[in-house]
C-alpha cells in the first residue's frame, strides 16, 4: 500500500494554475524525490498532501485514507521556510512542538536527548533559539520533525543552508530512517543528493508532472546513444561515430549514429587493437535529464 497516493490534483490561485492534474504514489519505506525548478508547484503539492490547502479537484490518500487529526501525529513535516519560536529556549521550543504531536512533555525530553547529542546541540539546549546559528536552527528544525518518530516524513529542501559536514550527517540520518522502514518524501532541486538518496522521483514543472518513476529506469531511459572511451593511444576515425567530445581525465564522449550500437563500436576498437582503459555507456546525470526535460517542456509550450 502506498504511503501517499495523489490523483489528478488541480489547484489554482486566482489566474495561476499552481498544480495541474498531478498524480503519483509514494511507496512505503522508500525515499521519494519530488523535483522541480523554483515555482514549479512542489510546495503547493506538499501543502495539499498535508491538508493545509484543499485541492480544487483530485484526491489525496495519505497513510491509507483522508488526513485526520490522529494521522498528524504519524507525520513529520519540515517546511522549506523554517520556523521555530525565537524567544524561548531550544529545549522548550522542541518540547512544545513534541507535545503537539501527542507526546507528553517528559517523553519528548527523553526522546530529544539522543538527537541533541547526535546533532551537537546538547550544549545549546538552554539557549534561546534566536541565539543559535542558522545551521543549528536548521538541525533543530530537523529534530522537531523527527522527535515523535513519525511513519512518514515530508521534507521540503532538507539540505538548504547546511554545510558539507551537516549535509552528510543528514543524508546518513535519512538513510538510517529508510532502513528502519520510515517513508520519506523530499522535495529538492539539488540533483546530486537525489541521485544518492532517492529510490523514485517525480519531476514537476509549471504545475505538471513531466517525469515519474524509478530513478535507475529513468536514467537508463535517458542514456543517449553515446559511450565514454579512454585510451592511452589516439583514437583513429571510427565508423558510425558522429561526434567526439573531450571529457575529464583524458576521457572522450563518442556520440554514435543510429545504425551503430555500442557493441559494434567496442568490437571495432578491439579489432583495431586499440588499448582501452575505460569503455562505458554514457548515462546522463539527473541534472542533465532535469534541464533537458524542463527545456523540452518549455519549448513545447512556446
Amino acid at each position: 500500500m502506498p504511503s501517499i497516493k495523489i490523483q489528478s490534483i488541480h489547484k489554482s490561485f486566482g489566474e495561476l494554475k499552481a498544480v495541474n492534474g498531478v498524480s503519483f504514489d509514494v511507496q512505503e519505506g522508500e525515499i521519494f524525490g519530488l523535483l522541480g525548478p523554483n515555482g514549479a508547484g512542489k510546495t503547493t503539492l506538499i501543502r495539499i498532501m498535508l491538508d493545509i490547502f484543499k485541492p480544487d479537484s483530485g484526491e489525496v490518500i495519505i497513510l491509507g485514507g483522508e488526513m485526520t487529526e490522529a494521522k498528524k501525529n504519524l507525520i513529520g513535516y519540515m517546511p522549506e521556510e523554517r520556523g521555530l519560536y525565537q524567544d524561548i529556549t531550544l529545549e522548550r521550543c522542541l518540547v512544545y512542538l513534541g507535545t503537539l504531536k501527542g507526546l507528553s512533555a517528559s517523553e519528548t525530553k527523553e526522546r530529544l536527548r539522543p538527537y541533541l547529542e547526535r546533532f551537537d546541540l546538547a550544549a545549546h539546549k538552554d539557549k534561546k533559539v534566536k541565539e543559535l546559528s542558522k545551521g543549528m536552527q536548521q538541525k533543530a528544525q530537523l529534530i522537531a520533525t523527527l522527535q515523535h518518530e513519525p511513519e512518514l516524513i515530508i521534507i521540503d529542501e532538507p539540505f538548504a543552508g547546511l554545510d558539507p559536514v551537516n549535509t552528510r550527517m543528514v543524508k546518513e540520518l535519512l538513510q538510517d530512517l529508510r532502513h528502519q522502514g520510515v517513508t520519506i518524501m523530499m522535495s529538492t532541486h539539488q540533483m546530486h543528493q537525489v541521485e544518492e538518496l532517492c529510490d523514485r522521483i517525480a519531476l514537476i514543472n509549471r504545475g505538471e508532472r513531466i517525469l515519474y518513476g524509478d530513478l535507475a529506469d529513468i536514467r537508463s531511459r535517458f542514456s543517449g546513444h553515446a559511450v565514454w572511451v579512454q585510451s592511452p593511444a589516439d583514437l583513429p576515425p571510427l565508423p558510425g561515430v558522429e561526434h567526439v567530445e573531450d571529457g575529464r581525465h583524458g576521457s572522450q564522449k563518442l556520440t554514435l549514429s543510429a545504425e551503430v550500437s555500442p557493441q559494434q563500436l567496442l568490437a571495432s576498437l578491439v579489432e583495431q587493437n586499440i588499448p582501452l582503459e575505460r569503455f562505458e555507456i554514457a548515462t546522463p546525470t539527473l541534472d542533465e535529464i532535469f534541464i533537458q526535460m524542463v527545456q523540452e517542456a518549455e519549448g513545447e509550450e512556446k
Binding site: 501543502r47 498535508l50 493545509i52 490547502f53 487529526e69 498528524k72 501525529n73 507525520i75 513535516y77 519540515m78 517546511p79 521556510e81 523554517r82 520556523g83 521555530l84 519560536y85 525565537q86 524561548i88 512544545y96 512542538l97 507535545t99 503537539l100 504531536k101 501527542g102 522537531a144
Partner: protein, 405 residues
C-alpha cells in the same frame, strides 16, 4: 482536545512568565501607589503648624473650638487673638505667626474677612481651622442639631420610584467606580488581545505556523490561543482587583469617610458589568486574532488594532450626552452596536437604571458578537495563516464564506 489544552497552557505560560508582562502587571498598582503617596506628600507640604492670629473687631469669636470639633480637623494650629493690627504685624514679621485675619466691624453685613500674610499664604490646615472657628461661633446660639445640619450643607438624594436605586452626592464612588473599572478592563482587554494578535503575527513572521497546522487543527490552535490569552488578561485583572480590594481595606481602616463610599458600591452593578464584559472580552480577542491572521507583519497589525480601538471609546467621548440622557437614542444606539456596547453599558450603569429588556438584549448582542468573532477568527485564520507577502482582503474572506455556504 488535549492539543487545545496544550496550546492554551503554552500561550498562557509564555505570556505570564514574560518580564514585560510582570512589569505591566505591577506598574498600575505601583503608579497608583506613587500618585497616592505623592498626594500625601503634597498635603504634608501644604500643612504648617505655625500659629495664626486674628483681630476680631466684630466680636464674633466668643469661644474656642470644642475638643470634638478640633479632632475633626486635619491639623489644628494655635489661634492667637490680637487687640490691634500693629501687634499682629510685629508677630508676623518675627515669624511667630504664619498670617492673621481681620474680622471687620461690619462682618455680619459683608461676611468678608481680610487675610494678611508675608510671603506665602496661610496653610490649608490653618485656614480650615479658622473657618471652623468662625462657623462654630456664628452658630453658637443654635441647637447642636441645627448647627451640625448647617455645617453639613445640602445633600441631594435621588431615589428611583421603586426604591431600587439611590444616588446621592455622598456616594460618588458608585458612579465613578464603573467608569474607572471600564477603563481598567479595557486596558486589560487591549493589552492582552494585543499579545494575541502579536503571537499570531509572530508565528506567521517566523514561519512556525506551517509546523503548527500540521500538528493541530486550525480550530484548536486558534481556540487554544484565544482562551490562553483571555486567561492572561483575567490573571492581570484579578491581580489588579486584589490590589484594589487591598487598597480599600487599608484606605477604609485609615479614613473612616471612605468606608461610607465603599458601602455605597452596588455589587449588583458590578456583577452585571462582569457578566457583560466577559463576552466583550471574547469578542475583542477573536477580532484581534482575526486581524493577526489577516495581516503580514507587526506594523500593519498595529495600525489595524488602532482602528479597532477607536470605536470602543466612543461612549467615553460622548459621556456628557450620555449623562444627560442615559436612556436616549444615542445611548440606545451605542448599547446595541457590539463594539460600543460594553463601555456604553458601563456608563449607563453609573447614570441610570437600565430596563431589564435592554440589559438582556445588550448581553445577547455581546454573546452573539463573541461567537461571531471567534468564528471569523477561525475562518480568517484558515485562509490567512500561510499568506506571507500579501494581506488578506475582506472581500476574499466574505466571498469565500458565501461560497462555502
Amino acid at each position: 482536545m488535549r492539543k487545545f489544552l496544550r496550546v492554551m497552557a503554552y500561550e498562557y505560560r509564555r505570556h505570564v512568565l514574560r518580564r514585560s508582562f510582570l512589569l505591566a502587571l505591577l506598574s498600575l498598582p505601583a503608579l497608583i501607589l506613587v500618585s497616592v503617596g505623592a498626594g500625601f506628600v503634597l498635603v504634608r507640604m501644604e500643612t504648617d503648624a505655625t500659629p495664626i492670629g486674628y483681630i476680631d473687631r466684630a466680636g464674633v469669636v466668643q469661644k474656642p473650638l470644642p475638643q470634638d470639633a478640633l479632632e475633626e480637623l486635619a491639623e489644628p494650629v494655635q489661634m492667637i487673638p490680637f487687640k490691634d493690627e500693629a501687634d499682629a504685624r510685629d508677630a508676623l514679621k518675627n515669624e511667630e505667626i504664619q498670617g492673621y485675619y481681620i474680622i471687620p466691624e461690619n462682618y455680619f453685613q459683608t461676611t468678608q474677612v481680610e487675610e494678611v500674610y508675608q510671603d506665602s499664604a496661610p496653610s490649608d490646615n490653618a485656614r480650615s481651622h479658622f473657618r471652623a472657628l468662625l462657623r462654630f461661633n456664628i452658630l453658637a446660639d443654635q441647637s447642636p442639631q441645627i448647627a451640625a445640619r448647617v455645617v453639613d450643607g445640602a445633600q441631594i438624594i435621588i431615589r428611583s420610584p421603586d426604591g431600587g436605586r439611590v444616588a446621592s452626592s455622598d456616594s460618588w464612588l458608585s458612579i465613578v467606580l464603573p467608569l474607572v473599572l471600564g477603563i481598567v478592563f479595557f486596558i486589560v482587554v487591549m493589552s492582552s488581545s494585543g499579545y494575541l494578535m502579536q503571537a499570531v503575527v509572530d508565528e506567521k513572521e517566523n514561519r512556525t505556523m506551517e509546523v503548527l497546522v500540521t500538528s493541530v487543527s486550525p480550530g484548536q490552535l486558534i481556540a487554544g490561543k484565544i482562551v490562553g490569552l483571555i486567561g492572561v488578561g483575567l490573571t492581570q485583572l484579578m491581580v489588579w482587583i486584589a490590589f484594589g480590594v487591598l487598597g480599600m481595606f487599608i484606605g477604609g481602616a485609615n479614613f473612616p469617610a471612605l468606608q461610607e463610599q465603599f458601602a455605597s458600591i452596588s455589587l449588583g452593578s458590578l456583577g452585571l458589568m462582569g457578566l457583560a464584559l466577559l463576552p466583550s472580552y471574547v469578542m475583542f480577542a477573536g477580532l484581534m486574532a482575526a486581524m493577526g491572521a489577516m495581516v503580514t507583519n507587526t506594523s500593519e497589525a498595529q495600525q489595524m488594532a488602532g482602528l479597532l480601538t477607536l470605536p470602543i471609546w466612543i461612549p467615553y467621548w460622548l459621556m456628557i450626552p450620555l449623562m444627560k440622557n442615559p436612556n436616549g437614542p444615542i445611548a440606545l444606539t451605542l448599547s446595541f452596536f457590539p463594539l460600543t456596547a460594553p463601555l456604553t453599558l458601563v456608563c449607563r450603569l453609573g447614570f441610570t437604571i437600565i430596563p431589564f429588556w435592554q440589559l438582556v438584549l445588550n448581553f445577547l448582542v455581546l454573546c452573539v458578537s463573541a461567537v461571531g468573532a471567534i468564528w471569523l477568527a477561525g475562518k480568517v485564520f484558515r485562509m490567512g495563516m500561510l499568506r506571507y507577502g500579501k494581506r488578506l482582503r475582506w472581500k476574499e474572506i466574505f466571498s469565500s464564506t458565501a461560497r462555502s455556504k
